[in-house]
Symmetry: C2
Subunit: 258 residues, 2 copies
Amino acid sequence: MNVLIVYAHPQPRSLNGALRDFTVQHLEAAGHHVQVSDLYAMQWKTTIDAHDAPQRDPSEPFHASLDSKRAFQSGTQRADIAREQEKLRWADTVIFQFPLWWFSMPAIMKGWFDRVYAFGFGYGVGEYSETRWGDRYGEGALSGKRAMLVVTTGGWASHYSARGINGPIDDVLFPIQHGMLFYPGFDVLPPFVAFGTSSVDAESFGNITRALGERLDSLATAAPIPFRRQNFGEYDIPALTLKDEIAPGKTGYAAHLA
Amino acid sequence: MNVLIVYAHPQPRSLNGALRDFTVQHLEAAGHHVQVSDLYAMQWKTTIDAHDAPQRDPSEPFHASLDSKRAFQSGTQRADIAREQEKLRWADTVIFQFPLWWFSMPAIMKGWFDRVYAFGFGYGVGEYSETRWGDRYGEGALSGKRAMLVVTTGGWASHYSARGINGPIDDVLFPIQHGMLFYPGFDVLPPFVAFGTSSVDAESFGNITRALGERLDSLATAAPIPFRRQNFGEYDIPALTLKDEIAPGKTGYAAHLA
């Protein structure tokens, strides 16, 4: 299969660099085709602005979503954006690898999502009506593809446990896994998280790569996180709240898991 | 009082631009001193990299946190970073205003936190021992100051309600309010969120600014979100899990509210 790795870390000589190299070698050894978007090495343009729609009318005020829509529809997006969209079309599975900085991804990867997820591609897809609210949350341009996060944290596993001070890791990652991956259609595999990576010796590196290797071997077969799909009867439309009979009494992120 | 507004929107002629102008005028009319960090206008450097520590040893691999620590301690950070830290020291209250993009802040503002929150300033402050785990979550360089988010969303309030598909807005904002603001010491006021802002007419703009004005009038007096402080007996250290007798049986973000 075709695997795209979107990777954000400033230093190749690092745990993240070593895990990225391990992942590429492991997947290629298994016969897969791999491309890497190494955002730091590419000097990825992080900030969405008027330069992303080079043929827009400069006398009009820039509008992030409308200009994105026009540029996407007319094939006049900046080349770096179109290239990443092409890689996404090529991929069967996409791995997003990054260190957790301030409980989210590094800015350079947030800027990848802000820019590559154009209106008409990442959002604003499909019909908005009384019965459907766009092709999103389980449908969309990326449906049929799989995605998985590979994340390192300085904090310990206990800090991200059910009663840990940082919040449960599944909740910390929900806006990414549900809001950025499931939203445009990805099937999202459970994340691979390496905790407490401020210092990693040879033994723990061996443990991490062994566990990661097993996850890479099951990319095509592992069961995705069972997020509820938006347009298949479980949500009122357009309020987009769970119907009373679905997970009655449950609130918060967990209610959106079947 | 001194109010810093950290603001991220690409277009001055926009709802966000109008709300920013309203906020500045409203606060100045009440006698406050206001500075604005308009990240797009400043062409804020979004990505943390070796250029942020100009006097580092270039023969060594760049290390985001260690190089940040050395540059902060030796006074050799890039000037743009030092300037923002100085504004934070000056401020009594900081407002972070942005449109919610992909359930988080625009990349340019994430890059403000990634870079301005240096090791020794935003994190890595204080003693790490068996009884304290740094000056964080209620203590730190920014303690004694207040912070408030001003956020616009395209999605409707129901989409961000307790059973809404995007997740409750308090959960979506938790990694920012708890993880990025309470962490270095801010008292965090409840957020001001304007939902459903894809199109805003004069009447709804009037409603938004009226409500925002009331929030601005109570910046100094409103009760902050009662996040539990880390080092004051409610958490086991260094596991950083809630002690059994604190909010027994409760898990997830809500357990960290007193």
